[in-house]
Structure formats: structure tokens, C-alpha cells
């Protein structure tokens, strides 16, 4: 295989005239330049795509399978399909929590020497990597919605246009929390798994008196007025609205909830990016 620079302009080799062909003197006056952050971000986009390739192929395989099953079901019962609602994007949002673990695969906090050894500030570099992963995550949410919409025979016309932003914002929030966890924890999968097990245990024991306040708090954080479900779907859980369905899209509440959760997600991410363990 021939060794040549990639065709992308940003990674092209220096022009022949600029190339270092004469020995640079080992002097502080002849320092090598640091990379441009925009170039690093574009490279991180490409690197994150490579890191996510295997997971994307698995997702594509599952999507193909589900498409076939749905088509078979549609042939059996042509009237069964319901239009896509923002609520249907919840699984994609939940997946966004796990994407950072693939973006930073095999780079636990103590195994990040290569990443930290590059000529970019550690926290800035983490932000560029996380930003690149976020771009692919949001693209994935978009593809998921488009695929589901096509499968369901269209989008729910009753949902206001702004409500289709909610899955993207919600996914970004969960992605940021997932990134913070991945940056700090040696085994983020264990934390997510542990949290899931703890949640199931809490659900099954929510009637126990002492656990009631905890259950109420968790329940509010998940599906309450300002909960993550509100951020993901734009639908606000409000029992005071005299409708049979207590979940209704309310832009002002969604904006408040989204701002709050985004701020918390960004805060958690920034804290993690600045406090990464030494490697």
C-alpha cells in the first residue's frame, strides 16, 4: 500500500517549497507550528466516524430487520400504521447516552495518553472530540426519525414544527451526560447498567414508605413537568390541563426544561473535560 496523504484539503501535505527538507535547528527560534483547531475538529469528525462504524453497522442491520418485519405487518394489516410522533424518538435519545462510550472506545481515563499527547490543550481536545461525536449523534437521530417516519407512513401533523427539535435537543443533553460519565469513569457501562438495575429495583419497591421520596424525585426527573422526557419530546406532563392525555406540547415549558437540562449537561461535560485523570 502506498503511503500518501489523504485527499482532503485540510490534511494535505505542505507544498514542496514549504516542506521541511533541510534540518531545522534545535532552537527555540525554529519551533514547529501547532495544528489549527478547525483542522483538528475535522479530523476528529473523521476519527469519530471510524470509531462509530461498527456500531452504526449493527444499528443498520437492526433497522433493516425491523423494516422487513414492519413491511410484513403492514401487508397483513394495511391500516395499522400510525404517523410518527416526537415521542417515538425517545429510544434514539436514550441511545445518545451510550454513544460517547463508542466514541471513546478503548480510551479509558488512564488509557488516554495518545489523545492527551497531541499538541492540543487537554480540555479543548476533549471538547473537539465530543463535538465531533455530537455531530454524528444528531445525524443519527435525524436518520432514525426519517427512517421511522418513512416506516410509519409520515409524520404526525398535529405536532407543532418546533416539537421536532425536541428529540435533537434531548439527545444532545443525554450525549453530554454520557460524555461526562465516559471521561471520568473507567467503566461507564457498569455505571449505566448499575443505574438501570437500581431503577428497576426502585420501580418494584416504590410503594415502600422510605423509598417514596426517592421514587418521586426520580420520577419527576424522568417524566415530570421539567423532566428529561419533556426535553426529548416537547410534551409536558401537566395534570392541570383538562384533557384526557396529560402530555401536551407547551413551547415555553419545553424551552425552560431544555435550557435547564442543556446547562446541566454542558456543566457536567465541562467539569469532566477539565478534571480528566492524568494518564
Amino acid at each position: 500500500m502506498e503511503l500518501a496523504p489523504p485527499r482532503r484539503a485540510f490534511a494535505a501535505p505542505l507544498a514542496a517549497a514549504d516542506r521541511v527538507t533541510t534540518p531545522p535547528p534545535a532552537s527555540a527560534l525554529a519551533l514547529n507550528p501547532a495544528p489549527r483547531l478547525w483542522d483538528v475538529f475535522r479530523e476528529q469528525l473523521a476519527a469519530a466516524r471510524l470509531a462509530l462504524r461498527r456500531e452504526a453497522m449493527v444499528a443498520a442491520g437492526l433497522a433493516l430487520l425491523l423494516t422487513l418485519l414492519t413491511l410484513m405487518a403492514a401487508m397483513a394489516d394495511p391500516g395499522a400504521a400510525a404517523p410518527l410522533t416526537p415521542e417515538d424518538a425517545i429510544p434514539a435519545g436514550a441511545m445518545a447516552l451510550l454513544v460517547p462510550m463508542a466514541v471513546w472506545k478503548e480510551e479509558g481515563p488512564r488509557l488516554r495518553g495518545y489523545h492527551h499527547g497531541m499538541p492540543v490543550a487537554r480540555s479543548t481536545h476533549a471538547m473537539l472530540r465530543a463535538g465531533a461525536g455530537l455531530v454524528w449523534t444528531l445525524l443519527g437521530v435525524g436518520i432514525y426519525l426519517a427512517w421511522l417516519g418513512a416506516l410509519d407512513g409520515g409524520f404526525d401533523g398535529r405536532a407543532p414544527p418546533w416539537q421536532w427539535l425536541a428529540p435533537f435537543v434531548g439527545a444532545a443533553v443525554l450525549y453530554l451526560f454520557g460524555t461526562a460519565l465516559t471521561l471520568l469513569a473507567s467503566h461507564p457501562w457498569r455505571w449505566v447498567g448499575g443505574a438501570a438495575v437500581a431503577f428497576v429495583a426502585l420501580v418494584s419497591m416504590s410503594h415502600v414508605g422510605g423509598l417514596r421520596p426517592l421514587w418521586d424525585t426520580v420520577s419527576y426527573l424522568l417524566s415530570g413537568h421539567m423532566g428529561i422526557q419533556t426535553v426529548l419530546t416537547g410534551d409536558v406532563h401537566d395534570l392541570t390541563i383538562p384533557e384526557w392525555d396529560p402530555y401536551l406540547p407547551v413551547l415555553s415549558t419545553w424551552l425552560k426544561a431544555a435550557s435547564l437540562w442543556l446547562a446541566a449537561g454542558v456543566g457536567a461535560f465541562l467539569l469532566a473535560a477539565h478534571r480528566q485523570p492524568e494518564s
Partner: protein, 307 residues
């Protein structure tokens, strides 16, 4: 009295300079008061047993670790305050093999690395890849230790950095490739006049490159000097001793290593050759010869010296 081994290098410009650097892991000190001085253009070999603090020192130079005390300067910059600019000047080969992304091919990793080092020279990279016999299509995660080492060396050298920091650079290489690699390294140093800091405990491999030696033990830099000083001051004296010889009191503290068989002693002594010979003669010993040590023998002698 113990001979004061040199720990201060006189050079007009230092590529690396640390002063009283300390690093602690929990309650244990990994480094304590390290004053490392690597002159510009030098090939400085830092030797020490495992756990002496060599790798920790290198990571401090790159800003990968934060010192708990003292100051660090690399190419005149503080790695903590100016880490990215410092790392842009450094080609680093780490001790550990997990350097780079296992899901990338070698070629893709080189392309990735080149983005971070705008001075990357593709022609030179191709030459190195050819010399290192690298299969560019192989995934990084599936490389053997030796192949991974060659990739690391390529990554470190292809942007022609002013400073190369190599942590056990020949670890995992077979003898032929080791020779080839050291040849490439010598050529690189001659071409670029870069400064090289090599950490190793296999000193004879880098004998032909080294012009400075530093000795680390238990987190302290116990000696550092130009090779010329080492050559001149540390010698192995072979002498015949009379029966009932009481030793050479005048040399107390300057004997780095004692050896010998029967009536013949072989001592590695630090000091001016004439002075040491005179003191040995005064003690009744007959000096047969005083020969300079190889770099490895000198390193072993300095490492095994009892304080």
C-alpha cells in the same frame, strides 16, 4: 566521604531543564528534587532500574502529568502552561504499547497524526515506513509489540521535531530491526540536529548514539554528565595488591564499584586518573592499567553505587 558525582551540565542552551521537580502518587514520591538538564542537540540517555521515575519524568516534560513541586522547561516553555506548543515540538515514543487508535489502520493513523503536526513530512514518513517494513493496511490494534514500536517511532520522527523523547524505543524489536532502527535514529539525529532524550535500561543498545548520560534511582537523578566527562573521570583500575593489603583510605567514597580476584583488584573509581593512581600506589597497590568504561558498564557501576 562520598564522591560528588556531577549533576550539573554546563551548556549554552538547554532543550530540557527541570529544577527540583517532585511528583507524588498518594503518599509515595515517584520523583524527588530532579534537576534534569538536556543540552540542545544532545543525545541524552537516562538510565535507571524499573520504577526509578524515568517514565514519570518524561510525562512531566510533555505536560501529561502535573508536578507536585519544582519547575519544568522544555524548549524554554512550561509544559503545564504551554502544553500544546511544547508537544508540537516533541516526537514521543511512550513505554506503553497502546498508543494510537486500535480501530484505525496504520495508514489512517499516520494521516490522523499528520493533521496534528503541520510540519509532517510525507516523503520522510514513506521512507521510514519502508525502512521499518510496515504493512500500512494492518489495523493498529492487531500489530505485534515490535511492529507497534516501529509505528510509534515513525509517528515520532516524521514531523522532524526539535526534541525526540523516546521511552524504551527498542523494546520489542528483534535484533535486526533494532539495529535498523538505531541506524535510522542516528541518521535522523545527524540530519536534523534534534535533541534526543532516551530512557532505557538496555544501555548498550544506544551506546553509539549517546553523548550524555543521566542516572536515576529511586526518584532521584543521582548523576548526569557529558560522555566525555564520564570517559575521563570514571575508570576501571586494575591493580595488584600485596598480601595483607588494608585498602586505599585515600579513595574512600570515590570507589563506585569494587571487584577483583585474588591479588588483583578491579575497581571503578571516580576521579582524576593521576590522582587515583597516586592514591592507589600510596596504599601499596601496583596499578596495571586504568581503562575507561563502556557506557553500559559505567551505567551499571553508577546504578549499583552505594550512597
Amino acid at each position: 566521604m562520598t564522591a560528588a558525582l556531577p549533576t550539573d551540565i554546563q551548556a549554552p542552551r538547554l532543550a530540557v531543564q527541570t529544577r527540583g521537580v517532585a511528583k507524588r502518587y498518594g503518599r509515595d514520591f515517584a520523583l524527588l528534587g530532579v534537576d534534569l538538564q538536556v543540552p540542545e542537540g544532545a543525545v541524552y540517555v537516562l538510565v535507571g532500574p524499573n520504577g526509578a521515575g524515568k517514565t514519570t519524568t518524561l510525562k512531566l516534560l510533555l505536560g501529561l502529568l502535573k508536578p507536585d513541586g519544582g519547575s519544568v522547561r522544555v524548549m524554554g516553555m512550561d509544559p503545564r502552561a504551554d502544553g500544546p506548543r511544547v508537544r508540537a515540538q516533541v516526537g514521543y515514543v511512550p513505554e506503553r504499547g497502546d498508543w494510537g487508535y486500535p480501530y484505525m489502520t496504520v495508514k489512517r493513523l499516520l494521516q490522523h497524526h499528520a493533521v496534528y503536526f503541520p510540519a509532517w513530512d510525507w516523503d520522510y514518513a514513506a521512507r521510514l515506513a519502508n525502512a521499518f517494513e510496515l504493512d500500512l493496511s494492518r489495523p493498529v490494534g492487531k500489530l505485534s509489540k515490535g511492529l507497534a514500536r516501529r509505528v510509534h517511532l515513525l509517528l515520532a520522527m516524521a514531523h522532524r521535531p526539535p526534541l525526540l523523547i523516546l521511552d524504551e524505543p527498542t523494546d520489542g524489536l528483534d535484533p535486526v530491526m533494532r539495529d535498523e532502527t538505531l541506524g535510522m535514529l542516528a541518521e535522523h539525529v545527524a540530519e536534523t540536529n534534534c535533541t534526543v532524550l532516551i530512557c532505557t535500561h538496555i544501555v548498550h543498545e544506544v551506546d553509539r548514539l549517546a553523548d550524555h548520560l543521566g542516572v536515576m534511582r529511586e526518584g532521584r537523578l543521582t548523576a548526569q554528565m557529558p560522555r566525555e566527562t564520564l570517559h575521563r573521570m570514571l575508570r576501571r583500575y586494575r591493580a595488584d595488591i600485596p598480601e595483607g593489603w588494608q585498602g586505599a583510605p585515600g579513595l574512600d567514597g570515590t570507589v563506585i564499584r569494587r571487584g577483583g580476584v585474588g591479588r588483583e583488584i578491579q575497581w571503578s573509581v571516580w576521579g582524576d586518573e593521576r590522582e587515583v593512581s597516586r592514591k592507589l600506589a600510596e596504599s601499596g597497590a601496583t596499578v596495571r592499567d586504568a581503562a575507561p568504561l563502556t557506557l553500559e558498564d559505567a551505567a551499571v557501576a553508577l546504578l549499583s553505587r552505594r550512597e
